[in-house]
Point group: C2
């Protein structure tokens, strides 16, 4: 298992972590200044400063990507909605390609309309089948342009509105079905926050294997957790055994970044961006 205690060469910052404090150009600059080698940007943050500007700043600073956030949200209640989702996923892949992302993360979506407060249908198995069809269709394009897709199982508390893929086992079943040859073009993004509770986590990480473990996201589960979306903790402040899980990842062959992704309405999003990044660096060494 790699020793992270001495440096931050495997630290990546998911740009949502400081989205309230900084624009993407400020984030890239703040990371470059600290020797943080990678980020994982969100599409809206890229759009805010422009794709070309983002590409240029990455090139100038030498900061790379550990992933691109995000494609997905496949389910819809109309045929037009399903087509629109596929078009949008193509655009996400094109952007990821422009920015040299190693993978595009898929938050697959769930019951259409639920995120806005009113589900257009309640049949979660239908949503799951639309997700499978959507990933399969998107894979055709991803393969063409050479952009691996990483299915991110989200915590079951987000099964209604954000992602109806909620366990590693379920995500890997999808990988087996859509990419049985294991071409390397379809895998999973393992976010500790979403999967730490799973009694089958160790065995499913082993099942995935290094070739399908495309990303590793870290933060912590707080007790109490006051919000279903944006009360994530800094690594070390909660109950997740991050180092143990990273051990399972590395035993399976993962050798990439540990990407810090913290949504924190009441704490970290209120602090100065410099303080947040400095804390990420310290905790990367001591807790990840």
């Amino acid at each position: 298992m790699r020793d992270f205690s001495g440096d931050i060469q495997w630290l990546s910052i998911n740009t949502a972590t400081v989205r309230k404090q900084w624009t993407l150009d400020q984030i890239i600059e703040g990371c470059a200044r600290r020797g943080i080698r990678a980020i994982s940007p969100w599409r809206d943050q890229v759009a805010a400063i422009g794709l070309d500007t983002t590409a240029r700043l990455l090139k100038e600073t030498g900061v790379g990507l550990s992933g691109y956030c995000r494609g997905g949200f496949f389910p819809a209640s109309t045929a037009q909605g399903l087509r629109d989702a596929l078009d949008d996923n193509r655009r996400a892949i094109d952007e990821a390609k422009t920015l040299n992302a190693p993978c595009t993360v898929l938050v697959v979506g769930a019951l259409p309309g639920a995120l806005a407060g009113k589900a257009e249908y309640k049949d979660i198995s239908l949503a799951r089948s639309q997700v499978q069809d959507g990933i399969a269709a998107t894979m055709d394009y991803a393969r063409e342009v050479g952009m691996p897709l990483a299915i991110e199982p989200l915590h079951p508390m987000q099964a209604a509105d954000r992602a109806c893929v909620n366990t590693m086992e379920q995500a890997l079943d999808l990988c087996d079905a859509i990419d049985p040859a294991r071409t390397g073009m379809l895998g999973v993004a393992v976010d500790a926050y979403h999967v730490w509770w799973d009694p089958k986590l160790a065995s499913q990480i082993a099942r995935a294997g290094g070739k399908r473990l495309l990303a590793w996201h870290v933060c912590d589960w707080l007790t109490p957790t006051r919000d279903l979306l944006s009360d994530r903790g800094m690594m070390g402040d909660g109950v997740i055994e991050l180092r143990k899980i990273r051990g399972w990842m590395e035993d399976a062959g993962y050798a990439g970044f540990a990407e810090v992704e913290i949504f924190s309405e009441q704490d970290w999003w209120l602090r100065p961006g410099d303080e947040v990044l400095d804390t990420c660096m310290a905790r990367h060494r001591s807790c990840v």
Copy 2:
């Protein structure tokens, strides 16, 4: 599949549903007055009016139990803590026996101390092994007095602080390990709120079989959900396909009550108890 649309003979009220409005004697009276045949009381509500008084009121009104809430909370960070938990579970079983409960529900516990805000350890696999040992020890006593135990898998968002058994599959693996002969003394309590998201739900309900399906709890998952514990919805107000899941339960052999359990700090706990029970009756017929 049974038709619930015409009457409420299979409706039970978990007493937490009106815990803020009424004491247990008022709840029993309110149910009896409406022809609701069963309740599932919580220990603290029983203690508040006395065990003997509760037993007498149930006898006088003819209201029965669909379960008793609850035993469990087995994990601890000290040997004394582990012993105390076993003693407390014996007392819960004795009370359930006095009240003629068909089963005692187990909310198994999780990381000790986490519910109070500070986990005494973070090793969730240790907590899970303490849970298995605790259930096994408690089973010896439960078998002696003839009180079935129902393991309730809780939603993964409560894995840190309330229950580290979080899927039907995991609960049934425990049943297989502790009661391989399937004596009928160990099974599961299926709460739609906790398990609706599970992609393996249908297959695990079938695996359980009627003899191990000891309870069926209903409410609904709201979008958005504003709190991890107490923002449950009334049946029909959320996204859970209650009738479909009840179909799976009945196909597997379940023929008992549908027990309404709603924790709702911002809505149903603020309404008059009569309105809540009347709504439960109406929704039982139209949505369960």
